[in-house]
Symmetry: C2
Subunit: 125 residues, 2 copies
DNA sequence: CAGTATCCCCCCAGATACTG
DNA sequence: CAGTATCTGGGGGGATACTG
């Protein structure tokens, strides 16, 4: 769908579009969501594994964000009945579909940085 | 680029991708960025016009967000030498390219809501 | 291992009022 | 019109310690 048509659509039916964008934003927004999703795109991981792969994240934050992601259907949590229990986190099919969004974001980010229009962007964050 | 290749790429060259995603997130993240961008996609607007079109936004927030967007090269601010001065905000070409990201987000948001995997999403925000 | 529980600080953002 | 100034509360998120 091209821009003008979309704009027209938004005019006529704002709620569903705004809602959809909001859902997506909620899914990926927050300091640690993207890193966690990125890590899980490489496959199932356990709590400590994720923690180890994301520098500086605290268990408190990891726990909290994983709950969010689970509630939003991005991540699935499975408890295995071993002793002690093993718990694995994996990305859901729906979560995996986020790669389209990520690719669009990567493409825009690269192009935008190249176009050099940013006046005051920190090189690292 | 498909997922696996991207993942490989991320493994080899994490910084640029993470940076790009970060840039994009910074551009659109925040409570009022998307509404402002949406409004400006309809054309040039003045401060008060934007304020009127976005319910509940305060001048303080609008001013702040517009500055952010300008610094990030998403929005251009033009001062016209009338009396009193007229100031117009318009979206930049680079900002307009965000529609690819928006469309990806809309597509994912709609599909994800349809797939009904969300356990606890507020119907309205 | 897989998390909770507490404490605490900072800053985002709302309310309200004011200015060139 | 096009914003800025000031005050304020709530919560996101860090540090640290603890638990089944």
């Amino acid at each position: 769908m091209e821009l003008l048509k979309k704009v027209e659509f938004v005019k006529k039916c704002p709620t569903s579009y705004v809602l959809a964008i909001n859902d997506t934003l909620n899914a990926i927004q927050g300091k640690w969501k993207m890193p966690i999703i990125a890590v899980l795109l490489f496959g199932k991981k356990r709590f400590k594994e994720i923690e180890r792969e994301i520098p500086k994240i605290t268990p408190r934050m990891l726990s909290q964000e994983l709950k969010d992601l689970e509630m939003n259907g991005i991540v699935k949590r499975t408890v295995y009945d071993t002793t002690p229990v093993t718990i694995e986190y994996e990305i859901t099919p729906s979560g995996e579909q986020l790669h389209d969004v990520l690719e669009a974001m990567i493409r825009w980010g690269l192009a935008h940085r190249k176009s050099n229009v940013m006046k005051n962007l920190p090189v690292f964050k």
